[in-house]
Symmetry: C2
Amino acid sequence: MLAAAVSALGLAPLYGAAQELIQPIKPPAQINIGMVELGKKLYFDPRLSKSGFISCNSCHNLSMGGTDNIPTSIGDKWQQGPINAPTVLNSSLNLAQFWDGRAADLKAQAGGPIANPGEMGFTHTLAIGVLESIPAYVREFKQVFGKDKVDIDQVTLAIAEFEKTLVTPNSRFDQWLLGKSDALSPQELAGYKLFKESGCVACHNGPAVGGASFQKMGVVEPYKSTGGAEGRSAVTGKDVDRFMFKVPTLRNVEMTYPYFHDGAVNTLPEAVDVMGRLQLGKKFTADENAKVVAFLKTLTGDQPNFALPILPPSSDKTPRPTPFSK
Amino acid sequence: MLAAAVSALGLAPLYGAAQELIQPIKPPAQINIGMVELGKKLYFDPRLSKSGFISCNSCHNLSMGGTDNIPTSIGDKWQQGPINAPTVLNSSLNLAQFWDGRAADLKAQAGGPIANPGEMGFTHTLAIGVLESIPAYVREFKQVFGKDKVDIDQVTLAIAEFEKTLVTPNSRFDQWLLGKSDALSPQELAGYKLFKESGCVACHNGPAVGGASFQKMGVVEPYKSTGGAEGRSAVTGKDVDRFMFKVPTLRNVEMTYPYFHDGAVNTLPEAVDVMGRLQLGKKFTADENAKVVAFLKTLTGDQPNFALPILPPSSDKTPRPTPFSK
């Protein structure tokens, strides 16, 4: 019993992937490729914003780990967002979307920023009006969905289908999990051992090394943030859910700085230090910290690899963006 | 003599490409591919801006005809730019860069927006500091330029080398020029004939169908603009150069709306109408207008086709963007 419990917490010595609490990322399965190609265009299309300037890719930039690498995002008219943009990479593996989990899945998430006045600043109705004015889009929606009308369900389904392809297999850590025993250096392996023995893996587990549960930010010590986000309580209305946030994935964490829901921490050594102290009551030594960071950097997988999409041009009837009007 | 003059103005019947004043776009030659790959990353890297949010591709978006498709661009802190962003596509064919030609070539142009307070809002020194803090960039610069130090000359050379690849050969019009006689419909051919006979080709000629001269905006009638740009006089200081602007390329013009230096006109029919009246003293009939527009749409060539670049992550030492500070 004790051995099983210890093993479940990842405290056992390394027996190989079958015993690990982290599993390799799998390539996406069951993908509708026509829907993916349409969703890819929509993901890059700033005409889904009021300004004509902000697309999904603006804040979840696929050149930069699926994030914007700034503490909180820039929205319509340069509004400052309330929270750090989570990476879109491997987001299909999350138990829910947004830091507070208020969207059940990628499709439910995709409609949010378009209509958020502080983000893309548009409305679903106006976005559909734009798409329906563009003949090449109308044809592509009809080809994919078999209907004469474009609607927001199709838009968010297509974006979500594209996002399902944004997984990052083949990290060095996954190569190791899959049996390439020399894929990790002794320092990186020592970091992984520390990651498990210190308890990090209790929350950061599964194929996404996170994304599978909500946990309190600030377990042993409170987390001091200038941001006002209170996490899951905004969804449930329950006081017990204050400061409960979705555990972020650690996949590609070297690329997804700055860290935490408020983006307050710029570097991995600092993030590991804060997490150790606040969540685990553990002060990592400089040597331990370096080892954990070395392990974390082995979680960078193959980044999305596709041709930059070319967007169909607006027609004479397309309503024009209004970046500078109220 | 008269025949030669008529032919030079493009008024002669269609004899084939040899007699035409528009030449096919050629694929880029003499390209340094290592420099192109580096320049491609820099072109997409928003860390060359103060905010970490604006890259070359933000306003010269290669998904959208190398433009931002808004009248005047959005700069740092959502500042409204003074002029329409010209397309980067085929810009290597321009006699000079910017609407007023103030940059002699692509390299000279590339440094401008980075340090323009109303655009990317950064400085060359700060941009170099960011790049030098990123080990993968330092290695790539050394590989390409063979030097230990990164400098702004290397940055702008690499961006310019990438931009040289952004030509758009193989438009239907070019296929026709190269001998595919059925590449154009009778309406499109009639539009081309009108384009020549009306005098459009006097300015819009050469492989870029423009970009080869400065001309006055408002020859027959003055052009009324709410924008304050006065064109080439800002460079030469000469009153005679007021409202002289670089003739824009018409390559991919279906994608590069809105039109004119102030982006005041949204559609090709309107742009053709204004140009006819103001530049040529000619009022195109609805039928003529439709023909010229049909011809213009045959100038859309093969768009850039490359994998979205993946940017090397910042290091712990990289200075962080400051999107919301002064």
